[in-house]
Symmetry: C2
């Protein structure tokens, strides 16, 4: 199985390639893609060879077919249906951000413990009460979920999602979830990231004198 990092790079390549294609280019050399992705051309060639794509020395890679090959690796054939729990400020922004961005990866259900949100369509997504979570996850075949609830609720939400059949979680709550083996969790901790940037920005000034 490809590593976490390989999958991350393929996802980045696709984002970059889609943008280049929209800008009007049809071919790209590995060193050009490497410059945009912040790695080396040999790394790019290895990653793309692993999904069966080879460039030519004269024209490089065909961007359209490369995007398709990456899609065959990354995307579920019939598309992946995603749930989001916690339709507040951050959850709403995530919904707005993903809307239409990846046709094969769409958020189809939102859950919130604010009962006023149940039954409404918010940010383009149908919202449900928390007690409907097991039924909706099961009926819609949802295996991927995004958690945007406060830290104090995140573990309970993760437990419920996993019991309902979810196998992968993108977690925005500033807590590390305890999950059984076989469940993939990716943490996005925006506060931590900004605190790291602030810390090292300051060190860089101090060290300069």
């Amino acid at each position: 199985m490809p590593s976490d990092k390989t999958i991350g790079r393929l996802s980045l390549y696709r984002s970059l390639l889609s943008r280049i294609l929209r800008a009007g280019d049809s071919h790209i050399f590995s060193h050009e893609l490497a410059a945009l992705a912040g790695n080396t051309s040999s790394q790019v060639r290895r990653d793309l060879m692993a999904i069966g794509s080879n460039g030519t020395p004269t024209r490089g890679y065909d961007i359209r077919s490369l995007i398709q090959s990456i899609g065959e690796c990354l995307d579920a054939a019939g598309g992946e249906r995603v749930a989001l729990v916690g339709v507040g400020n951050l959850g709403g922004a995530i919904l707005g951000f993903f809307a239409g961005r990846r046709p094969k990866l769409s958020v189809v259900a939102g859950f919130d413990n604010d009962r006023d949100k149940a039954g409404r369509v918010l940010y383009g997504v149908r919202c449900y009460a928390m007690e409907d979570l097991p039924r909706v996850i099961d009926q819609q075949g949802i295996r991927v979920a995004v958690i945007t609830v406060p830290a104090s609720e995140a573990q309970d939400v993760a437990d419920r999602l996993i019991r309902a059949g979810v196998r992968g979680i993108l977690n925005f709550a500033p807590i590390r979830l305890r999950t059984p083996a076989g469940i993939y969790v990716e943490d996005v901790d925006v506060t931590m990231s900004l605190e790291k940037v602030a810390f090292f920005a300051r060190q860089s000034l101090t060290h300069k004198g």
Copy 2:
């Protein structure tokens, strides 16, 4: 200098400790903090010893003084002023998310190439036109910036920020920025993260079935 990972863990500890303090506890043992942070008690003790904090065998760590010690390590004494470039959907969500969350880390200026936003206060932050960026960054002593513009504009924005004096960047655009040595960049790529979760959630099912 502490590593990237150590700083990340200290930031996470502080988030967790603040929540526990609000819940009414005054002391915590290293193994309890480790369980919440998803690491080991010896790791927690090492990290906290590095900032001069030691627990007692009977009561563990005093949460209040631990939060203060972490703050002395992570926070700039006078607070850190942050700029955000790209006051769209994602930028607005980030502004809403950070508002009041960390008193020592506040977004004080937003920039956007939509001239209608200049001069307005959006999501609690004063917005400026892009051409005012060098002046505002300099006058306000801003060293940290968040980039929430589309990928096609992110490199140009980063170049401008660095020329204006910014030393650390939190980058939400799906592109790897080219920056001079001494500039700290942290990437948050939400699409990549969700694609990874979806990929590994599917593998976990395949391997079970």
